[in-house]
């Protein structure tokens, strides 16, 4: 009976873990730009090189077979760089400094700091807070705001069933970004920016895979552009006239041209 009770509690706990609500995207609070003489700590994390991600039901032996079959594609994509994405740090620093902020580049710690959990004082309102308490880092980093950008996926992805590919490879570039007010732990901005696209024309053109390589750089630059757009200062007078906070975002996101929409889409 006791065992049954324990099992039931474990099952309920497991179910509750699965029910955790993911953080909804938070557009940049434009009030951020009214702050004077504040310091922004910019932390940019990205893999050293892009890579090929394998998706689907794949066993260990399948991995070995796939690795042998895709060695040319893997080594080609690993030889590409992320420089055009990493340049976003320079671009953001410039624009924030133009708005009167001081920008400090922060190194990504080798080991993630242990932070206490942070409980949202009112989970029902639209003011969101970081899940971990970053306030304890304010003194260490000496910043008022922490802007974290992480390239969570960079390179190519291909789905497999066992060792058999079920679709052509596609270029992917996903970025997670958040801006935290270090005095209150409030999320001023939170976004997952995901871009993916197939090669235009044939993809299997080794050893240089030009179609896929082009798409990789395009999706990377689109992700970079989205980060810059999301953190841009909006013309508040336009927002007031239109009565629509998203108008500026729509203007920048809706214009993309047609032709490129064939190749990429945003989730």
């Amino acid at each position: 009976m006791k065992t049954l009770l324990r099992l039931s509690i474990a099952a309920i706990f497991a179910a509750l873990v699965g029910c955790a609500t993911p953080q909804v995207p938070v557009p940049l609070d434009q009030g951020f730009y009214t702050a004077d003489n504040k310091t922004v700590g910019l932390m940019l994390e990205a893999p050293k090189t892009p890579g090929l991600a394998l998706e689907g039901n794949i066993g260990l032996l399948d991995y070995a077979i796939i690795a042998a079959a895709t060695s040319s594609l893997s080594s080609h994509i690993e030889s590409q760089d992320l420089g055009e994405f990493l340049a976003v740090a320079e671009e953001l620093s410039q624009s924030l400094e133009n708005e009167g902020f001081q920008v400090v580049r922060l190194e990504v710690p080798a080991k993630a700091p242990k932070l206490a959990k942070f409980k949202d004082p009112d989970g029902k309102d639209t003011t969101y807070f970081a899940a971990k308490d970053h306030r304890t880092l304010a003194a260490e980093y000496q910043v008022d705001y922490l802007l974290k950008l992480t390239a969570t996926s960079a390179g190519l992805a291909r789905p497999y069933y066992g060792f058999i590919p079920t679709d052509a490879p596609r270029a992917v570039f996903n970025v997670h970004g958040e801006m935290i007010d270090m005095s209150s732990n409030q999320l001023l901005w939170y976004a997952n920016i995901n871009h993916a696209g197939y090669a235009t024309g044939e993809w299997d053109e080794g050893p240089n895979f030009p179609g896929l390589t082009n798409t990789y750089y395009v999706v990377m630059n689109k992700a970079r552009q989205d980060v810059v757009n999301a953190l841009a200062k909006r013309d508040t007078s336009v927002i007031a006239l239109n009565g629509d906070d998203d108008s500026a975002a729509a203007a920048s996101a809706g214009a993309p041209a047609a032709a490129e929409q064939q190749e990429t889409q945003q989730q």
């Binding site: 679709d167 044939e202 299997d204 390589t213 750089y217 990377m220 929409q261 064939q262």
Partner: protein, 304 residues
């Protein structure tokens, strides 16, 4: 035997993974081309009919369809009596794979058909206007009046004998999925008897966007006034592609920038990105050599 058949079927389906647009990897031997005295020009019929519409690749959609099929296999009936555990496992894996591939191909087929359908009235109108002949005449005219034709004696005539130098041009007209950008491509190959062509390249023109996001509005735009906008853009496209093709054959293209970069080109409320080496940039057009070595003439200005 059954497993072999299944694997063969899987292979056949996988062959369909590639997308339909074809571009040549650029190659060329300018000195050998210059030494040719007479080149016969041939224009192949339009690839994919009068007009094709690009599909909108939706990887997540394919994956969700595939995972539905993968989930469905778990509710499949049990194997017949007498089936060994190994046979059942192999059949399960192969069945799941085939299901996944079929679902993926079906999703792509549906996307292709959904892309093409809205443009059908335009395709019918083009067939009524003998688009095939119009493109051929404009292309022949563009090539025969080029400097390359003058220096190499380009002639639009049937090939007199096997092995005579022949320049084969394969044109195609596409609209993007939103029907707002017209693309005109020429796949060019110059053969002179040898196994390998002396020259291979693809030259493509992209119009500026129409400025509309609605497919029906775009369809109306291209069809209005007896296809005036469509033919106007097509004439521009043929003139530009023929001119750059002739320059490429002649080895007289502007020098490309050495550094490869991802360029952003803006035109008519839209923008595109492409990686390559910049060949030329004006207020109206940006010309790039892409990573295949193909020449892209994109209507719009380069955004720095």
């Amino acid at each position: 035997m059954k497993i072999i058949t299944i694997v063969a079927l899987a292979g056949a389906l996988l062959a369909g993974c590639a997308h339909s647009a074809k571009y040549h990897l650029a190659s060329g031997d300018a000195d050998s081309i210059r030494s040719l005295e007479r080149i016969y020009l041939d224009i192949a019929p339009l690839e994919n009919g009068p007009l094709s519409v690009e599909i909108y690749p939706e990887p997540w959609r394919y994956l969700s369809v595939s995972s539905n099929v993968a989930a469905a296999q778990y509710s499949a009936p049990p194997p017949p009596p007498g089936t060994s555990a190994g046979q059942a496992a192999a059949a399960g894996v192969a069945g799941g794979l085939i299901g996944t591939l079929i679902a993926s191909e079906m999703a792509k087929g549906q996307a292709q058909s959904a892309a093409q359908k809205p443009a059908e009235p335009l395709v019918e109108a083009l067939m009524g206007r003998a688009i095939e002949r119009d493109v051929r005449e404009a292309l022949v005219d563009g090539m025969l009046t080029s400097d390359f034709a003058a220096s190499n004696t380009l002639e639009y005539a049937p090939l007199p004998d096997d092995g005579a130098p022949q320049l084969v041009l394969q044109p195609s007209i596409k609209l993007t999925n939103g029907l707002n950008v017209l693309k005109f491509n020429i796949n060019a190959e110059l053969h002179a008897g040898g196994k390998q062509p002396l020259y291979r390249n693809s030259i493509e023109y992209w119009s500026a966007g129409t400025g509309n996001s609605d497919k029906q509005e775009n369809l109306y735009y291209w069809r209005a006034a007896d296809l005036e906008a469509f033919y106007g853009e097509l004439q521009q496209a043929i003139a530009h592609t023929a001119s750059y093709l002739a320059q490429s054959l002649d080895g007289s293209l502007p020098a490309a920038e050495e550094k490869q970069a991802t360029h952003r080109i803006a035109g008519n409320d839209g923008w595109v990105m492409m990686r390559g080496n910049l060949l030329q940039s004006t207020d109206e057009y940006t010309v790039l050599r892409d990573l295949r070595g193909n020449i892209k003439i994109i209507s719009g200005t380069l955004v720095l």
